[in-house]
């Protein structure tokens, strides 16, 4: 199976988030960057599918030149190819992002064949627009299942002419919904679908040397515009010492009881 996973470079934040002076972005001066957690799981899920059924995983990101770092992270885990749609560092809106991804997918499919499964994170960790996966599915005319927590791909299944069949499950109001879709399809996944692996040293060494397929993405304004970020005020949380040694036990039991974990 041929899989595409779209990932986003996002700041790795601590307990308190700082916002830039103009109020339009997270202040990343002291922060590192990572892949959105949902997308880390998407990468892991894609690699597992290829481990089971063969094929290859392509990771794609739209971002600044530094986003190459996140692509290499995915390559280190076992992704096979990486595509960087390189921006000038400006933040793109979801509609423009989806359009650029769709164009890149069409380009790629014209020469290298179709993707059977396109995975996205349910929403980006920073902007949380919940849109890109759905917009891409719509533009490509593909079925889309969102917020998926479990996934079974069967390349041999599905109706005549399909690339296979997929069962995707998600949780909804205490129940589990299961969707069967014919491939190709778009799935947006949520953290918890799997426990992503860590990169091995040989994986990192391979990723370091792997070529990236880079193309420039010229900035397109989005109908959706960010006006202001505000950090909500919250009471400062601190650890509370319940007691020392055996003296702490009653207070601890009370607390566990309160939390309802003592059933």
């Amino acid at each position: 199976m041929e899989l595409l996973v779209c990932i986003k470079r996002v700041p790795m934040v601590g307990g308190r988030i700082a916002v830039t002076a103009d109020g339009l972005a997270v202040d990343t001066k002291m922060l590192g960057f990572t892949v959105s957690p949902h997308e880390e799981c998407a990468v892991e899920e894609a690699i597992r599918v290829t481990e089971r059924h063969g094929g290859s995983v392509t990771v794609l990101t739209l971002g600044p030149p530094e986003a190459a770092e996140q692509l290499r992270d995915a390559l280190a885990l076992g992704a096979h190819r990486a595509v960087l749609l390189e921006t000038d560092g400006r933040e793109w809106g979801p509609a423009a992002t989806a359009a650029a991804i769709v164009a890149a997918i069409r380009d790629r499919e014209a020469t290298a064949g179709r993707f059977d499964l396109l995975l996205f994170g349910n929403e980006a960790a920073d902007s949380a627009d919940y849109q890109v996966g759905i917009r891409v599915a719509r533009a490509l005319g593909l079925p889309c299942v969102t917020a998926v927590k479990q996934l079974e791909a069967d390349p041999a299944g599905g109706p005549e002419g399909a690339a296979g069949r997929l069962v995707a499950r998600r949780e909804h109001r205490g129940a589990t919904e299961a969707f069967a879709v014919a491939l190709p399809a778009v799935v947006t996944v949520k953290e918890g679908i799997n426990l992503p692996r860590y990169p091995s040293l040989p994986g990192r060494m391979r990723a370091r040397k792997a070529p990236l397929d880079t193309a420039a993405a010229s900035f397109t304004p989005d109908p959706l515009e960010r006006r202001k970020l505000r950090v909500p005020t919250s009471d400062r949380k601190g650890a509370e010492i319940l007691g020392r040694g055996p003296d702490a036990v009653p207070a601890l039991v009370d607390l566990l009881d309160e939390m309802g974990v003592l059933a």
Binding site: G14, G15, F33, Y198, P199, L201, P202, G238
Partner: protein, 847 residues
């Protein structure tokens, strides 16, 4: 907000391993009302202690660091947080194997078990290491790992248990309140009056900065500078390692230091930690460290920059292919950990010179933390610490060495040398030319090869003297060994011989020069000096200063220029510490003041049998032996300049130290140089002044022979009688004189430099002295015998070593061994005591 005390006897800032140790040891020494403040939560407030790899190798290049590590290890063991794992340094190059032989020698000198291993023997202890990658290993069986956070908690609990300590967590220090030192004669400066925190003001007279990477910011709050920069040390943790699944405890295999790649591998439970000092130096500003709340992990666990670490992966996998090359083993944790770097790699300990009551205990590793805490607490309590930490005295940096640019440049330069093969004389490449003599340009024309001391460029030898090599032939004791030929030239020995044959001109501009003046000046210096200071005007006094225990605190000369004016001259390296010692002991009533004239006066040494002839050509003053006796000083006129001449010598020759204002130094140099040409005068470098000329005369050097561990009786410097006036250390000194010394400083000669091969090899200092059967030598106080200074004695015709020996061995003619590069070379005690090997009756000096 926490309810915090409004008054404390001392506020310790920072609850890392150092702050916790300082707090405990202060409590243990009787301090009460101690407050320990940290902005972070306990037990891991987020400093460098929290992410440390926590392993301890016992061996160091500096004896001080080794002793601090030894003491810390003992404390960790007593706290029950030490696990001994053993540790192996592995060599990938021949040069490293030679370095291991030097390190093994140092280990022997300090009584640390070590053993050279073949690659196969290494692989036996570390089964996942590929022996084909290495040439050998150096095994230290006593290497261990510690739980430094747990140690900190126990320290706090013990101090709290004594009723001595209040711990205030989650409270940030926002200011350090200071007031003028007052109307004392101690010069400018201020004193601590309080520590302002986010929870209110704590009044106190003592504040100890143990803030690690934040210390520079804290120091600025008090209006002073601490030369320290945070720098990144990258570390990854890889697991789960199948081999470690069944091991019990945190560590079951020896720690490996892959020193030629600047990396280490250390088991941590089911994981292997791989740390690196090989990546580019990544410097951070103290103000740019995120707060506890903003940090993704902790403030000092900065985001990992993968691209910096990636290039080193191949070498790690190459060394441990089966373990680190396992595709199923993943990088589970990776950080850019912040650690502290100083311009010379040593910690910053002691009271800051600018602010009374503001103490620093910064730039420590885990391996020294408890020992540093104890040393600083002792220093605060008794004025001295059991372990001599003068090398780490925070008062060692001149202003030019405290700038941000200097600190960053030196940190950048030294970072990748963390596991490097560093020669003891190795010079810095960055930040040169900070302080130069007025005749510097002339010296460069003469081909001066400069070494840097305390920021000063000092000619070590002059390339223009190369012609002398033909004159002296083999008398220059040529070297063929690569190691001892580094940072050395046979020209040094040629200059030495030319000085002894004719005369030499030595640039001594780097001397630290202070005037102590005022009606109380005599009493003030009398109170510090061992020698009698109530001497006639025009006398030059050479004297040590002692600490309360009678150990050496300083070694300097003092000229009495007037009834109430004394000029103190001391070495550049210890100038600031000596100045602080004097200022700290000046009377409160202002009757004596110290003025630092270091930047105002230049000094030129003129020595050799023809020194008088040369000086007579340019001065009409009477400089005859009768007219200008040894040990006197006065102002004479030299070619139109008023020059303070002092007839003393550190090289054992007739001659003078000639002092004149900086702006006239070039003229004085040119005048003397020209006048000396017909008489064979040559420019002579510090290689002669500091080593060859000195050692032939058995002259002691502060920091080498003269340290707080030894006393004047042992150093052979006790005078026939003790003055009646009281002085610091007198009581202890009288005690030392009343009993036979536990050790005596001796001069040894190298019997045969050719051992273990055709090449002559010359020890450089620091090597262990052994008996003829290879036994270590310790005196009854447990002090090992090692080479305190080593250098050529061209006029004697052999290589000379100085070393303290116990009485039974401190006998002329005793045969011993020195261990150098794994070989044992025969040495003989040539002199026990201070009689010079060259010109034993000092006729030349007094001619």
């Amino acid at each position: 907000m926490s309810d915090i005390p409004t008054r404390a006897s001392v506020v310790v800032v920072g609850a890392g391993i150092v702050g916790n140790s300082v707090a405990f040891h202060l409590a243990d020494l009787g301090w009460r009302d101690i407050v320990l403040v940290d902005k972070g939560p306990m037990p891991n407030p987020g400093g460098s202690t929290g992410h440390a790899s926590n392993f301890i190798f016992p061996i160091e290049y500096s004896r001080m660091m080794m002793e601090l590590t030894r003491d810390s290890t003992r404390q960790y063991a007593e706290l029950g947080v030490l696990t001994t794992s053993g540790g192996i340094e592995v060599a990938r190059t021949e040069a490293r194997l030679q370095e291991f032989r030097r390190r093994a020698g140092a280990a022997t000198a300090w009584g640390i078990p070590s053993e050279m291993l073949s690659p196969e023997e290494v692989a036996k202890l570390v089964p996942y290491l590929d022996p084909n990658v290495i040439l050998g290993g150096l095994h230290f069986p006593t290497v261990g790992v510690v739980d430094s956070l747990r140690a900190g908690t126990i320290f706090r609990d013990r101090a709290t248990g004594l009723g001595a300590l209040r711990v205030v967590a989650g409270v940030e220090v926002e200011g350090i309140e200071v007031a003028p030192r007052g109307a004392t004669g101690r010069g400018p400066g201020s004193r601590v009056t309080g520590v302002r925190t986010s929870a209110g003001l704590i009044e106190t007279e003592h504040c100890v900065l143990c803030g690690g990477v934040w210390t520079p910011r804290l120091a600025r709050m008090a209006g002073t500078h601490l030369p320290l920069t945070p720098i990144v040390h990258q570390m990854i943790s890889v697991g789960p390692v199948p081999l470690f699944a069944d091991t019990v405890g945190e560590i079951a295999y020896p720690i490996v230091r892959d020193v030629d790649t600047n990396m280490y591998e250390r088991q941590h439970g089911g994981d292997m930690e791989v740390g690196s000092y090989a990546h580019r130096p990544i410097l951070v500003e103290a103000d740019d460290i995120p707060s506890n709340e903003e940090a993704a992990l902790s403030p000092t666990e900065m985001p990992f920059t993968q691209e910096d670490f990636d290039p080193q992966l191949a070498e790690a996998v190459e060394l441990m292919p089966g373990l680190l090359g396992d595709e199923a083993v993943g990088i589970r944790y990776a950080i850019n950990g912040l650690i502290s770097m100083t311009p010379d790699g040593h910690p910053l300990l002691g009271e800051t010179p600018d602010v009374e009551g503001l103490w620093s205990a910064a730039a420590s590793w885990i391996k020294e933390g408890p020992g540093i805490g104890r040393a600083v607490a002792e220093w605060m309590t008794a004025g001295r610490s059991e372990i001599d930490v003068h090398e780490a005295d925070v008062a060692r940096f001149y202003p030019v060495q405290q700038t941000r640019q200097h600190v960053r440049a030196r940190a950048r330069e030294s970072f990748n040398k963390m596991y490097g093969i560093v020669h003891p004389a190795e010079q810095w490449e960055s930040e040169r030319g900070l302080r130069v003599a007025p005749m510097y340009a002339r010296e460069l024309e003469l081909g001066a090869v400069c070494f840097q001391t305390a920021g000063w460029e000092r000619p070590q030898w002059y390339a223009s003297n190369e012609r002398l090599l033909a004159t002296y032939g083999d008398r220059v004791l040529p070297r063929s060994g690569e190691w001892e030929s580094r940072w050395w030239s046979p020209i040094v020995n040629a200059e030495h011989l030319a000085m002894r044959d004719a005369c030499g001109l030595v640039d001594l501009t780097a001397f630290a020069v202070f005037d102590v003046t005022g009606p109380g000046a005599l009493d003030a210096l009398q109170h510090l000096a061992v020698a009698q200071m109530d001497v006639p005007v025009g006398k030059v006094v050479y004297t040590p200063f002692l600490d309360d225990a009678g150990g050496f605190k300083a070694d300097l000369t003092i000229m009495r220029l007037g009834p109430a004016q004394f000029r103190v001259v001391t070495g550049a390296a210890h100038g600031l510490a000596d100045r602080k010692w004097i200022v700290d002991h000046l009377p409160d009533d202002g009757s004596a003041v110290l003025t630092d004239l270091t930047s105002a006066w230049t000094t030129i040494g003129l020595w050799g049998p023809r020194a008088r002839t040369v000086l007579e050509r340019v001065s009409d003053d009477d400089v005859s032996h009768a007219g200008f006796p040894f040990g006197t000083c006065r102002t004479i006129e030299v070619d139109g300049l008023a020059v303070l001449a002092s007839r003393i010598s550190y090289v054992g020759e007739l001659g003078w130290e000639l002092y004149c204002p900086m702006e006239s130094g070039l003229r004085l140099f040119d005048t003397l140089f020209a006048a000396g040409q017909p008489h064979g005068l040559v420019p002579v470098g510090i290689g002669v002044y500091g080593t060859t000329g000195r050692i032939e005369k058995g002259y002691r050097a502060y920091g080498n022979e003269l340290t707080p561990d030894y006393n004047p009786v042992e150093a052979g410097m006790a005078r026939p009688s003790v003055k009646t006036a009281d002085f610091v250390g007198k009581e202890a000194h009288l005690g030392h004189r009343s009993a036979p010394p536990a050790a005596t400083l001796c001069t040894l000669t190298l019997t045969d430099p050719r051992v273990g091969g055709p090449e002559a090899r010359y020890p450089l200092g620091g090597e262990p002295i052994l008996t003829t059967t290879g036994e270590r030598i310790e005196d009854e106080l447990g002090r090992p015998s090692y080479v305190t200074s080593a250098g050529a004695g061209p006029s004697i015709g052999t290589h000379l070593l100085l070393a303290y020996l116990p009485p039974a061995l401190a006998v002329e003619g005793t045969e011993l061994r020195v261990e150098y590069l794994g070989e044992r070379q025969a040495v003989r005690v040539a002199v026990a005591g201070s009689t010079p090997l060259f010109d034993p009756t000092n006729e030349r000096v007094r001619s």
